[in-house]
Symmetry: C2
Subunit: 148 residues, 2 copies
């Protein structure tokens, strides 16, 4: 084994998938505060609830797509976990060389200006894992929490 | 509404349930490093992989119990998410008063000297959420990561 040229630096987020039921968003708002970021994606709305250097992410299906298919198969619940890495391109080169099954062979644009890639669930024995590299402007954990 | 006397202070861990298949533990060890804590519980082994102030937790079923029942129903995968709170007793008083459905009405002892309580999954629309209060000695995020 050669030395790894990348490393996991944190737990970036854990994602919850749901449909029209507002219970999950209302509970998160009550427990944590309102979502800090909201983005539209094809077939779903993505919201991020900031918790120090990590987030709880929600994926609300609002059309056909990967989130609705997950809901059809499994119902609402935890969808994936995202590990923060320092250099995602180096991680993907290394994982490809080691034969780790990937959904995304190359990094693509994620929410909030991140670069992301999903591993195939078989890589973690049935758990969908995402890798996230923050943009340089985001690389430091937020200091102000926005709640008075 | 009266002012809340407690707050969520972080994302303590996300938990993965699995059976005898070693793929998940091997992948976590490869990505993060070996588990930092291992504890035996009735029917399962709990391991904690430290990532800054948060953890990835694994629950390996090794007998009958809640983890094996989860695996029988849903297969291996994400099991719950744990939010860190500053004062768990105040949180539980508040949640009981607001009628939030709880599994644990009172805090009980968790791994690594924590105090924990599970909410009923209906509180978050189908997601099992745990509250965790660190012991005073643990209350500061770890500074050394253990990896050279």
């Amino acid at each position: 084994m050669t030395a790894k040229t990348w490393r996991v630096t944190g737990l970036h987020h854990v994602a919850i998938a749901h449909g029209k039921d507002p219970v999950c968003e209302n509970a998160l708002t009550s427990f944590i505060g309102p979502a800090d970021h909201t983005e539209e994606a094809p077939g779903f709305i993505e919201r991020m609830y900031e918790l120090g250097p990590s987030y709880v992410q929600t994926l609300e299906a609002d059309g056909e797509g990967v989130v609705q298919r997950f809901l059809d198969n499994r119902g609402p619940g935890l969808h994936h976990v995202a590990l923060e890495v320092d250099v995602i391109d180096a991680a993907l080169v290394d994982l490809r060389e080691r034969g780790v099954p990937l959904i995304d062979d190359e990094a693509r644009e994620g929410g909030m200006g991140t670069r992301i890639a999903f591993l195939h669930p078989s890589a973690f024995g049935g758990v969908l894992v995402e890798l996230v590299e923050r943009t340089p402007a985001q690389a430091e954990p937020p200091s102000g929490e926005g709640e008075g």
